[in-house]
């Protein structure tokens, strides 16, 4: 707390961090599109926005992890000067606690703190490390019961998150002046989360600053003095927290209008849909010819629900010419592409059992199938026997679509398949999905993009691994999806 008091004594006019018109582009993707913001000592800024709004990029630009491709980031150093770059960010006392836990599982709790604390070296560093981490843990989470000698891998997810938070606030060579917390409470239970929120308030009132990123709007209102709303790489609203209501925040996060074509598809939806073809334990259900969307914030159980459903309808032991369900991967490298093979071999994998003659693969039938689909979905290659990796990401994705759609499976499961696909290809894929649905196929479509979910006939919104809302037809709107994605009620304590 001592260092925080020091920070508080500096003149309030001098911001800890000042971003002016910061831009960050990854190839053609503009993750940050001109962000200006300042953080003063004593401020707690709530940063909200939906997936892909640019929050994580903003965090990495603020903590010096990424150098912006345009604009500037300036830190005020404890000695009164200013600086830029990662070293200056460290010297300015900026720490980050990430959403994806970044601890090494093989280290002990006290060893963990040595990674960010470069000054821990020489004889007796363990003793200093133990003192720093256990003090921070006691301060933030009284009664935590975590042994500093325990191996991180043996801790529960919540305990790991607590260690990571404590490491962020721990005393170090540089005084801690700004801590960025990215979804810190997602794996903490209500009581521990409450301890953290209380500590954040004390830390800020003593002159420290916090950037608090959370999808739990109740928590944001509880700690934030100011709320910045991000959308499409920009800050579109920045006001004192007291001027927002939960509803006005959700409105501020914005919505995507559905186009006329989709409205037309929906109108005839009732005639098109058939009987119910699937239900899952989570409560998902779908009818023949229906496009069912799985919405909600990333990582809230949608992909797991899809994988569970797929595994339950296909077995590792038997195979069939007519599978019940096929899978379109979105994470191409992990779930879809077979990197040593040609485009053709990748395309025909699922349909291969029906392309046999005398027990061997009928290669002319295989070529024919490849030719058909090359034309049907426009795979851009002059030769289907080229390696799959010679294709661009979007074209690889088309091959994965073709792999599934070439089969006769009545149900197609899609795990965010438009990830990293360009706009043109997306439009082609949408048309293809709609055509196939009209022909009687059922789609289960997980997407993190709201403008994809609004194309569905029905959408299930996931929160914390459970379905929090079922939306049908015109009720599928960004407002409703966001409302169901976020924790609207105060956490019961």
């Amino acid at each position: 707390m001592q260092q925080a008091t020091e920070a508080g004594s500096s003149p309030p006019a001098r911001p800890l961090v000042a971003l002016s018109d910061a831009r960050m582009a990854f190839g053609a993707v503009r993750a940050l599109d001109g962000v200006s913001l300042t953080i003063q000592p004593g401020e707690c800024v709530g940063l909200i926005g939906h997936n892909g709004a640019g929050k994580s990029t903003a965090v990495n630009v603020i903590n010096g992890g990424l150098t912006p491709t345009g604009g500037s980031v300036e830190y005020s150093l404890p000695d009164g000067g200013t600086g830029t770059g990662a070293a200056a960010a460290r010297a300015a006392g900026i720490r980050s606690v990430f959403q994806e836990l970044s601890l090494c599982p093989n280290l002990t709790v006290e060893e963990t703190i040595r990674v960010p604390h470069h000054d821990l070296s020489g004889f007796g560093w363990r003793k200093t490390a133990r003192k720093r981490i256990s003090e921070a843990l006691d301060r933030i989470f009284p009664g935590h019961g975590i042994e500093t000698g325990a191996t991180v891998g043996d801790l529960s997810l919540a305990e790991r998150q607590m260690v990571e938070i404590a490491a962020g606030f721990a005393e170090g060579k540089m005084a801690v002046r700004l801590v960025i917390l990215d979804e810190p409470t997602s794996s903490l239970d209500a009581a521990v989360a409450r301890q953290l929120l209380a500590y954040v308030r004390t830390f800020c009132s003593a002159g420290g600053a916090v950037i608090f990123i959370s999808h739990m709007l109740g928590e944001v209102f509880e700690v934030a003095s100011r709320i910045d709303v991000m959308k499409d790489g920009k800050i579109i609203a920045s006001r004192p927290a007291s001027e927002f209501t939960q509803q006005s925040l959700i409105d501020a996060m914005g919505h995507v209008a559905s186009t006329q074509a989709e409205a037309a598809t929906r109108a005839d939806a009732e005639n098109r849909l058939g009987e119910e073809v699937l239900t899952t334990p989570e409560g998902l259900s779908a009818r023949r010819g229906e496009i069912v969307g799985l919405a909600g914030l990333a990582g809230h159980g949608q992909a797991e629900a899809l994988a569970r459903f797929f595994m339950s309808r296909s077995a590792g032991m038997r195979h069939t010419k007519a599978p019940e369900v096929t899978f379109v991967a979105g994470d191409r490298g992990r779930d879809g592409v077979l990197p040593l093979w040609s485009i053709l071999q990748n395309l025909t994998l699922t349909t291969l059992p029906s392309l046999l003659r005398n027990g061997l693969v009928d290669r002319s039938a295989e070529d024919g199938l490849g030719k058909d689909w090359k034309q049907k979905i426009g795979i851009r290659t002059d030769n289907m026997s080229n390696p799959i990796l010679s294709l661009s990401g979007g074209n690889q994705q088309k091959v994965l679509f073709a792999r599934s759609l070439a089969s006769t499976a009545p149900i197609v499961v899609m795990d965010d398949p438009m990830r990293g696909v360009d706009v043109g290809t997306k439009q082609e894929a949408y048309d293809m999905i709609r055509r196939e649905a009209e022909a009687g196929r059922t789609f289960l479509w997980y997407s993190t993009e709201t403008d994809e979910i609004v194309q569905c006939d029905r959408a299930f919104v996931f929160r914390n691994g459970q379905i929090s809302a079922e939306l049908v037809g015109d009720d599928i709107s960004e407002e409703n999806i966001l409302a169901a994605s976020f924790e609207m009620h105060e956490e019961a304590s």
Partner: protein, 320 residues
């Protein structure tokens, strides 16, 4: 026409198995030169016969290794010993029992393969540990049944395994037939596609409808069956089963896969290379023997060759 021919020749060295055969030819020439040309016919026959044993177990190992990192069958030597011991004891020198004896040997392989897979699947043990620990079981069983007896194989079988047709040893003909069948299986059949898919990305294969578990079960069983066949043939060829008859095939079965140009990372294997590697392994050993080098030096050189080939293969990938 001439151009086409040259380009084919130019591309020959790009085949993954090319180097194994080239090196075999060199080793043969070196040994031939050393013995000043005398007994080259015997050398060739011995090479072909002994390479056959390595090639058959190597093919089984190749299918296992194709399934990707961590997949290897370390129970091959013990399965060979158990099958050889049991079948020779069962036949007890009776010519009428030759085929039932073969059936028994293959049955031993089938049981061993299924047991290996059961350990991997049901107990979730990594294949390398499962097959290694199972091999202790098989070896103990062989010891228990054998009790130091050395039973001669039926004379007809013994004649067959040492005989030859038109200068080509009978065993080599069997080995080549198995290689051809395996090539068809790997390159042209559904199973071959599946095994390659599993080796490249098991998760993607599973999500594309490949029956991953069936592929694994068949592959481990196939490897054990080929090992048991080799055990049966080797015991008949060498005039009786011995408890250490499989020992050297642990290293050799893996070595011929690697030397043959199959990818140890899985997904990409080739059958001709197995034969190239098997010939090379035997020739290197016999060459070192003719130079009068001891077993220790031989093993060191064998290890060095494998390391050099793996290093060269990974270097080639980086350049590509």
């Amino acid at each position: 026409m001439a151009e086409q021919k040259t380009s084919m020749l130019l591309h020959l060295h790009r085949r993954p198995w090319f180097w194994a055969f080239a090196a075999s030819a060199l080793a043969f020439a070196a040994t031939y030169a050393l013995t000043a040309g005398s007994g080259s016919g015997e050398l060739l026959a011995a090479t072909l016969t002994f390479a056959t044993f390595s090639a058959i177990v190597g093919i089984g190992q190749m299918f296992v290794i194709t399934m990707g990192p961590g997949n290897v069958d370390l129970s091959i030597p013990a399965t060979m010993t158990l099958a050889g011991t049991l079948s020779l004891k069962f036949m007890d020198g009776a010519t009428t029992l030759i085929l039932p004896g073969l059936g028994l040997a293959l049955l031993v392989g089938l049981a061993a393969g299924l047991f290996n897979y059961a350990l991997i699947r049901l107990l979730r043990i990594p294949p390398i540990i499962a097959t290694l620990s199972a091999s202790f079981l098989y070896q103990s069983l062989a010891i228990w049944w054998n009790r130091g007896l050395r039973i001669k194989p039926p004379e007809a079988l013994s004649d067959f395994t040492t005989g030859s047709v038109l200068g080509l040893p009978n065993l080599t003909i069997i080995g080549i037939l198995i290689a051809v069948a395996s090539w068809v299986l790997l390159e042209r059949s559904l199973f071959g596609r599946w095994i390659s898919a599993v080796g490249q990305n098991t998760r993607a294969a599973r999500l594309s409808g490949v029956p991953v578990e069936t592929v694994k079960a068949l592959t481990f069983t196939g490897s054990a069956v080929l090992a048991s066949l080799t055990g049966y043939l080797l015991a008949s060829f060498s005039g009786g089963a011995a408890l250490n008859m499989g020992t050297e095939y642990l290293l050799i079965s893996i070595a011929v896969v690697v030397i043959g140009g199959s990818s140890i990372a899985g997904g990409n294997s080739n059958v001709p290379g197995i034969w190239g590697g098997a010939l090379l392994m035997f020739l290197v050993v016999s060459m070192l023997n003719s130079y009068g080098l001891g077993a220790g030096v031989r093993l060191i050189l064998t290890g060095t060759i494998i390391i050099a080939i793996v290093a060269a293969a990974s270097g080639r990938k980086d350049c590509a």
